[in-house]
């Protein structure tokens, strides 16, 4: 690498890291020359190179400036949802989203589907085939209501990584994490009760709350540190909240990992106000850091945390193998499990237990973590490259979901309709709010294989966003329509 290339790389890194912000003037040629002990022409060559890459723009007589949108976009600011319990709506839009994930011609940038094509999953096929060849009679009969003992043993062992000391009898196997959440919610509250959630929150959880007639209070949530404990405390003082649902590790959709100290503080608050915590850990295993982050359940001393998870994001959602460690709510959870589905399909439970027992799980998990982390880098690069300036992008610490915030007046629903023509589907932000927030946000799934087709799709989304943003400049805010007719004359 020549001197000027070296300098250009250094400057590009600083721009990437946000040390030089978009629109900011870069140091003069003379000062850089002095700082780095290189010639004037070396600095000029470096600046030319960056100009070619569109990272910087020259302004006559003023020097070089960082091309506005090529700097690292900021993370979304803390959310500000409505601070009162509301009822969840939006079912039609969710139904549309989950139906569209079946359209094979559509590129799924909006669904929560993991990549199930990696070779490390192959042993699962062999195991299923072997189980069938052995004609294991357990596969045909009603399962234990707790679930297959061999699987519960493996789940208890896996939980050690998140700091949990569980016995197999603390665990109830469910039909995916969906059922785990569903029985947990009903185990801790009745129709008409209020539950606090992070805002934004996974739309499946929202719809479950809607289905059981539970009101939702959305708590401001920071895209780096998670749910605002201050706002939660105010809500707990003001409303008879029964439980809080959180995704503290590799949050869906924001991607944060809540710092351990904040997890502990949340648990203390739950003890103080005597509420339950429903902890959705379905992405927790996919944290990019190693060892994986602690669960709140691991800090739980009086059984008030219901830990819900599944193999849907790590292995495969089609298996429908999930679980809940419901603490003191075990008996109620068993009843709700029984009346919901009777028992869970035996065969897939046996297959997953055997996959873990044979030692295929950890290598697969390592592979998937690396795969998604690499995809995150590439998708982030594409978003920066193809999307316009003035957006905020989350910095996921695990999983495969990216949250993009656009100017307030932006309509992601309309964007989604527009993209349908190009056979691309995104997740619109409003699905993640009970109070109709986040119409200007979208969630992108970066589990997809990195191909030219995916890059093209990102380019199409970026261009569509840019076109839409021309109509709604960053500063615009939605005009409030005054409601209520005057009573006068």
């Amino acid at each position: 690498m020549t001197r000027y290339q070296h300098l250009a790389t250094l400057l590009a890194q600083r721009i990437e890291q946000g040390l030089y912000q978009g629109g900011e003037r870069l140091p003069s040629v003379r000062s850089l020359s002095a700082e780095h002990g290189v010639s004037i022409s070396t600095v000029q060559q470096a600046y030319h190179l960056l100009e070619e890459k569109q990272l910087i723009t020259p302004q006559p007589r003023s020097g070089y400036f960082v091309t506005p949108c090529k700097s690292k976009p900021p993370v979304p600011p803390i959310t500000r949802p409505a601070q009162r319990p509301v009822e969840v709506t939006q079912w039609e839009s969710v139904l549309e989203l989950i139906n569209s994930r079946l359209d094979e011609d559509t590129l799924q940038l909006g669904s929560g589907t993991p990549d199930t094509s990696q070779p490390t999953i192959k042993p699962l096929w062999k195991i299923i085939s072997r189980l069938a060849q052995k004609q294991d009679p357990r596969m045909l009969n009603y399962d234990n209501i707790y679930g297959v003992p061999a699987l519960r043993e493996q789940v208890a062992r896996m939980a050690i990584d998140s700091g949990c000391q569980l016995s197999p009898d603390d665990i109830v196997i469910t039909t995916g994490c969906h059922e785990a959440l569903s029985v947990s919610i009903r185990a801790v509250c009745q129709p008409g009760d209020i539950i606090a959630v992070e805002s934004p929150t996974f739309h499946g959880t929202m719809q479950t709350l809607r289905g059981f007639g539970i009101k939702v209070i959305e708590i401001p949530t920071d895209s780096v540190t998670g749910i605002s404990l201050e706002a939660l405390e105010l809500a707990l003082e003001q409303w008879p909240i029964k439980a809080v649902i959180v995704v503290p590790n590799c949050n869906n959709p924001l991607g944060f990992i809540m710092p351990d100290a904040r997890k502990r503080a949340l648990l203390s608050m739950a003890q103080c106000f005597d509420i339950a915590i429903i902890e959705d850990d379905v992405y927790g295993e996919l944290a990019y850091e190693y060892p994986r982050p602690l669960s709140i359940k691991s800090m739980d001393e009086d059984g008030r945390v219901l830990l819900c998870s599944s193999v849907s994001k790590v292995l495969a959602p089609g298996l429908r193998v999930g679980w809940v460690a419901p603490g003191r709510y075990l008996n109620r959870v068993l009843h709700l499990k029984y009346i919901g589905t009777g028992s869970t399909a035996t065969q897939t439970q046996l297959a997953v237990a055997e996959f873990i027992r044979q030692g295929h799980y950890q290598p697969h998990l390592r592979k998937m973590r690396m795969h998604y982390q690499r995809n995150l880098d590439i998708f982030t690069h594409w978003v920066r490259h193809y999307f316009p300036c003035g957006i905020c992008v989350s910095r996921p610490q695990g999983g495969f979901m990216m949250w993009i915030e656009l100017p307030e007046a932006f309509d992601a629903m309309r964007l989604n309709r527009e993209l349908r023509e190009s056979h691309i589907q995104i997740s619109v932000g409003s699905l993640f709010s009970a109070s109709g927030k986040y119409r200007n946000c979208l969630r992108l799934n970066y589990s997809l294989a990195v191909t030219a087709q995916t890059e093209r799709a990102l380019a199409i989304v970026g261009a569509a966003v840019e076109r839409a943003m021309v109509c709604c400049p960053p500063s615009a805010s939605v005009a409030e329509v005054e409601g209520g007719a005057s009573l006068k004359g």
Copy 2:
């Protein structure tokens, strides 16, 4: 066969069929001799043979009498449950029952488990193994929320046998019939609502109603013709009932098939009072008559019938493949399905669809019908042989459940505890009532292989019943305790 043996067989048949009732005097030797054109001594030899078989008893100077309990026991009379909405209890006993079905040392006479050992089910193993070998990616991914299209097609075709014209899009696949019932119940009512049920009713349905805070009004039910329409009409006039749940074909636990005219009348009544009908058809395919009986759904014109079924009783419960045809409640059912389990395991759906498509289903079904019908004959014989007199026994027209009513003061719970020492488990009647009725009843599962061990078990149950009945003669009735203290000083 000699003449006297022939005559003895003829007489034994008449006793079996109830033409000669228990305790009734048989024709004199002389008259039988004349009637059949045989010698006096042939008749005497035939009577001696029947005496040896304990079918008849000689009375000095009076002739021969049918040994009382060896005649065909009567069917249970129409039930008389409490005629007001009540809340369901009994979860602890149900949990005990479903946990005990996992104890391999215990002979399961109480569970609803079918026989999954017949050779006609073998192709299923091969299909599962093949699907895994082919590495069909559908097996790992989220399923369509309606369920796998190939399976819905097969279900729609199967439904033709019960008179239904359904399109695949009328059907939602569920995790067993349990989930079908669970979503159907919630689709038609809210917590606090009232639902009418047959009495007795399957305990899983009862517990589901309990779990959703729904009150139950139990309707008198005839063990031959089903729910009393007269009593139901009175209840509908008196209470704001939202729906009625029935198992009109091969009822669990009574075994009846409701006559078509009564099915039609029930539907008319539902139209008249504008309520929904939840029809549980999980045993319907196992009717001994051919073609199988019509479903109420087949008569439905305005989409008020929610037909629930599964392959759990015909094929195997461990597959957890069920479905609901929810009529006008489709959208609500989809929402409830989504929030309950997300989607159903894909692999078992594909396997079942392929099993039917390849033509294995009908031969298997025929085999199972014959198997259970044969088992019914043998179990009925054993019950008559080993159980004391004074009991009523249902006459199942399909499925594999037998309902036995003992004298009113009999305590089946105590019997169950006593049988635990002998590693035998029965289903106690009180699980089938919300109002604590049927403590004197039990349900026997006759799907088990007919072996010497099974016969011994029936003998042990019979002897235990006999011992218990000594303490509670048939005429005894539970003494009513007067409640409420006098207000007088």
